[in-house]
Each structure stands twice: as C-alpha cells, then as structure tokens.
C-alpha cells in the first residue's frame, strides 16, 4: 500500500474539512473570544473571575454572565440607553464603544474599558486597581455603586474621578434598581441571584437556602436574617469573599 500525491491532495483538505465540520457539529468551533475571564489566582479571591481580564470586545451580556452584574445595571451605570444600543440590544453592547463615544469628555480622565473593569470590581466586591492613571467613572455609576452597598471609602475613591456624562435624560429607567429585595444584585429580576455587597442573609433564605445549609457551608451560624452579609462578615472578622464563595453555590443549586 502506498499513498500517492493525489491521495494526499484529497486527504489534507479533507482532514481539515472533516475536523472543522465535526467540531461545528458538536458546537466546539468558536473563532471568537469565549468571553470567559481568567480567574484570580492567589489571595482571598482566588478562583473568582478577574475583572482585570475584561476586554474591549466584552459585551454587557458577557459581563453579566461572568460577574453576575445585570445588563440593565451596567447600562444605567454607563449611561447607555436602549436606543443607543440599537437593534442588537443592551446585552450585545460592547465595552470598547466607550473609548469612542466618551472621548474628550474630560481633560485628564477617560471613561473606557478600564472604567468598566473598575466598576465591575467595585460592584462585585472584587479586588482591582485601575490600570491607567486617568481612569474615570461616569457620574451615573456612583448611585448604582452606592445602592449596591459598596463601602464608603471605595465610593469616595470613585467619586474623586467622576466624569459628567451628557444627555442623562435619555438614560433608561433602571428597572427598579436598588430596590429589589428579591435579588442580591440591587437591580431586580429573579435570574440574577448573585451575592453582592448589599445582600442579606434573609435574601439568601428567600432564594431557597435554609439557615442550616448556610451554617454547614460557612462552618458557623449565619448572622440574623436582616444582616447585610458583607457588614456581618466585617464585624465577625471573616472575609466577605469567603462567605460568598461558601454560599453562592448553594444559591445556584437552589435556583436549578
């Protein structure tokens, strides 16, 4: 048996066609970024998605998926109206747009991808130092962060680099942002049961996790139902991220 030139001429393209075709059939062929951020590798937050890995090509939907921040919250924080997002919708709105549409709003501050990274970190209670000196946050982000229960010293740091956005009257109504007792995200909606800064133990109970299960996962009795988990953790000398990591899988399991 020998392989002839013609055999190779058929086999080489065929191997690629069959290989690519099979991977497409199994939904494995993907030529675009998976929008799956790298994990934080060390410290108390090891294993959590790293906001530093958010790239310009990320959409609001990608950030919601990776960090549990609802699309509407991101849109409100960054002053993006549904009309501005166009027919593709807010979920498909890409972070890299900010560098263009908010260019020149301030002489020394810029609202861009790094602003989104920082906002995401603040909102989700994750560590992040803005990469660029001139990284600013839009004024619209401040109330969102406050409502999410971001500690005052971090909020002050954010306030110090606020960039005023024009045309705020066009912003979408924030879908009950900050009021929803049924979510930990501060934005309403059953789908986004993520433990964030202002989530209380009571909310976690509402999401179907019994106090006994919480105690088992945390290795100690949970705080009172009306206690904000972050505050309670601080008072009891426990890292918020540790409690979050223990409870979030229970919340996710209860939601299924």
């Amino acid at each position: 048996m020998k392989i002839r030139i013609v055999h190779l001429a058929i086999a080489v393209p065929a191997v690629f066609v069959i290989g690519i075709g099979a991977s497409m059939a199994f939904n494995l062929w993907n030529t675009e970024s998976s929008k799956q951020p790298a994990k934080i590798t060390s410290g108390a937050f090891a294993g959590s998605a790293d906001p530093a890995d958010i790239r310009g090509s990320y959409s609001f939907g990608d950030i919601e998926k990776a960090f549990g921040i609802p699309v509407e919250v991101l849109a409100r924080a960054f002053g993006v109206s549904a009309e501005a997002a166009g027919t593709a919708g807010l979920a498909a709105y890409q972070v890299k747009n900010f560098e263009e549409i908010y260019a020149g709003l301030s002489e020394d501050l810029e609202v861009g991808t790094d602003s989104v990274r920082w906002f995401t970190a603040l909102y989700a209670g994750l560590p992040y130092e803005p990469e660029e000196e001139g990284t600013g946050l839009p004024n619209t982000a401040i109330p969102v962060l406050r409502e999410a229960g971001v500690p005052s010293e971090l909020l002050d740091a954010a306030r110090a680099v606020v960039v005023e956005l024009p045309g705020l009257e066009n912003l979408p109504a924030a879908a009950g942002a900050g009021e929803a007792a049924g979510t930990g995200t501060g934005s309403g909606g059953e789908e986004t049961r993520t433990i964030v800064g202002k989530t209380t133990f009571g909310q976690v109970e509402d999401w179907g996790v019994s106090r006994a299960k919480m105690a088992e996962a945390m290795g100690r009795e949970p705080g009172p139902s009306n206690a904000v988990i972050r505050d309670w953790a601080g008072e009891n000398g426990v890292e918020f991220s540790v409690i979050k990591e223990a409870l979030q899988p229970l919340v996710d399991a209860a939601a299924q």
Binding site: M1, K2, I3, R4, I5, V6, L8, A9, A11, V12, P13, V15, F16, G19, I20, S23, L28, W29, N30, T31, E32, S33, S34, Q36, P37, A38, K39, T41, D53, R55
Partner: protein, 301 residues
C-alpha cells in the same frame, strides 16, 4: 533493473493547487475580517481573525488552558481544534501541513521558483554546511522561547514577530514593524534558499518536524531498485539526502512528495510514501540528532 517511467505532467500541479486553495482561503478570510470590522464584508464567508485560524495559537495556549482553563488573549477554541487536526495529520503523514497547507510555506516556495530561475543549480545551496547544520535546530529554540514567554506573560508574544500574521495583515493597524521586517527578510532570503523561515525559524514547523521521528506513513527509498542518480536529493526543498536513506526520518521533511517516484525519482516504486515496516526506534533518534551527517548540509556529499 526497474524501468524509468513516463510521468504525468499534471501531477506537478496537484500540490500547487492545494497550496493555492489554502492561501486564497486564508487571504479571503483575513480581508473579510478587516472589512467586517469596518462595517462591510461578505456574509457567507468566515470573518474569523487570523489568530483564530492559526494552529500554532493552540500550541502556545496549552499552558494557560491547562492551568487556568482559559485561552491566551486573541486565541479561541478554533485554534485548539486546528492544532489537534495539524498534529493528527503529522502523526499520520508527517508535516504535510507545512508542505501542503501553510500559506507562509507556500509563498516562500513561490519566491523560491524565481530564485531557481535566477541562480539555477546554485539555488538552495548557498548556506555552508557548518552554518546550516546547527542553524536547523534554531527553530526549536524559537519554539521553546515562544511557548515559555506566552505562558509567563499570558499574551501572544509571537504576534509581534510572526511573518505569517504580517503576510495577511499588511493592510491592518495591528501589523508590527518587526513582523513586517521578518516577512520581508524571509521573502528576500527565499530567492537564495528554499523555505528559509521553515528551515531555521518556524516554531510550528519545529513541532511538526518532531513527528517525522514516529509518523505512521513515511517516505521510503527501496535500495534494490535505486539507480543512485540523486534526483531525489536535488528535488528536496529541505536538502534532505533521500538517496542514502532507507526511510526518511529527517526532522525537516515536510512531506511535499517532490522526491517520490511520482515526481523526481525516475524509477517506479522506488521512493514512496508508505506505511511502516518493522520499527527501528534507534534509527529514529539518530535521524534527529545527526540529520545531515555525511552531507554538506545542502544534500551534497
């Protein structure tokens, strides 16, 4: 003695046709990618970036995938799939990717045709053996450095120097001057030496080349019918001395089939791509360590 046979003239265009197919496809997708980014483009054609279509992207991402379950920035699942396809093909028939599909390999070969016209028999025999022999291992060093630095920094470090990326991004703002300079040097050198980048620098070629040691189908010369005319040696773009090999295990073979009885060898059934005979692992190792021993590195004795 076996008879010399008349060769089909059209067979020489078969590999060229496959090379053109891959070249045009990759070029079209690259242009389409740029057009789409600027609001235009052809809908039915893939809009993938060149990174998404590069099997080497999968290779350099291995460490990050293994340790963090994520890809290096700009690399996607498709690069990984292409990597496995390329390696699977190499396991079967050696670096056929290089000889048949890689557009950078093809474009060097096409420039080489011009060099052959200019320099005749001198073409592809300019590099002195002493220099050529060690330089052929340089690509393994490049491979190690690229993989190590990509793992360390988590970014596509080779992009800045990659002539393949430059070739299809000449019009793009992403083009780095270093990559453009390496591409230009490669094309100029191709007028003197066949496939200079493949021989001395290409990290993916290096990885593919290793498969020559244990590929399933290999180039075999039948000594009994060989008339020792050395036509196979002269035809080999990688200067491999086929005329003294039983089985070609040289790490630089690209399975181009130019040496075979269908092309250069004038005797039927004497040099062919065939499945394995009895295994000779020691011979495989020796072939890697002293691939050009006994020759001047250009296939001459």
């Amino acid at each position: 003695m076996a008879k010399a046979k008349a060769k089909s003239k059209s067979i020489r265009f078969v590999r060229l046709g496959v090379q053109i197919l891959f070249f045009v496809l990759i070029a079209a997708i690259s242009v389409n990618h740029t057009l789409v980014e600027n609001g235009g483009g052809i809908r039915w054609l893939s809009t993938a970036s060149l990174h998404a279509l590069c099997p080497f992207g999968g290779v350099v991402s291995i460490w990050q995938v293994a340790t963090q379950a994520t890809f290096v920035k700009k690399i996607h699942e498709s690069s990984f799939i292409l990597m496995w396809i390329g390696l699977g093909l190499a396991l079967l028939v050696g670096p056929a990717f290089c000889g048949w599909a890689c557009p950078l390999g093809s474009v060097q070969e096409w420039f080489g045709k011009l060099g052959r016209k200019l320099f005749g028999k001198k073409y592809n025999a300019f590099v002195p053996r002493r220099l050529d022999k060690p330089l052929r291992y340089l690509r393994y060093l490049v491979l190690a450095m690229v993989v190590w630095n990509t793992a360390r920094l988590g970014t596509l470090v080779f992009e800045t120097y990659d002539p393949y990326f430059a070739l299809f991004n000449l019009w793009s703002a992403e083009l780095a001057w270093q990559a453009a300079a390496i591409l230009a040097a490669t094309l100029v050198l191709s007028l003197f030496v066949e496939r200079p980048f493949c021989k001395y620098m290409c990290p993916y070629g290096a990885l593919q080349g290793v498969f020559n040691l244990f590929r399933i189908f290999r180039i075999r010369r039948v000594a009994k019918t060989c008339i020792d005319c050395k036509a196979c040696d002269r035809a080999c773009p990688m200067n491999i001395e086929v005329s003294t090999s039983g089985v070609v295990r040289d790490h630089q073979c690209i399975t181009c089939m130019e040496c075979t009885s269908e092309r250069a060898c004038p005797v039927k059934d004497t040099v062919d791509l065939v499945p394995p005979g009895p295994a000779k692992p020691k011979a495989a190792l020796a072939a890697f360590v002293v691939p050009l021993a006994g020759t001047d590195g250009q296939g001459r004795k």
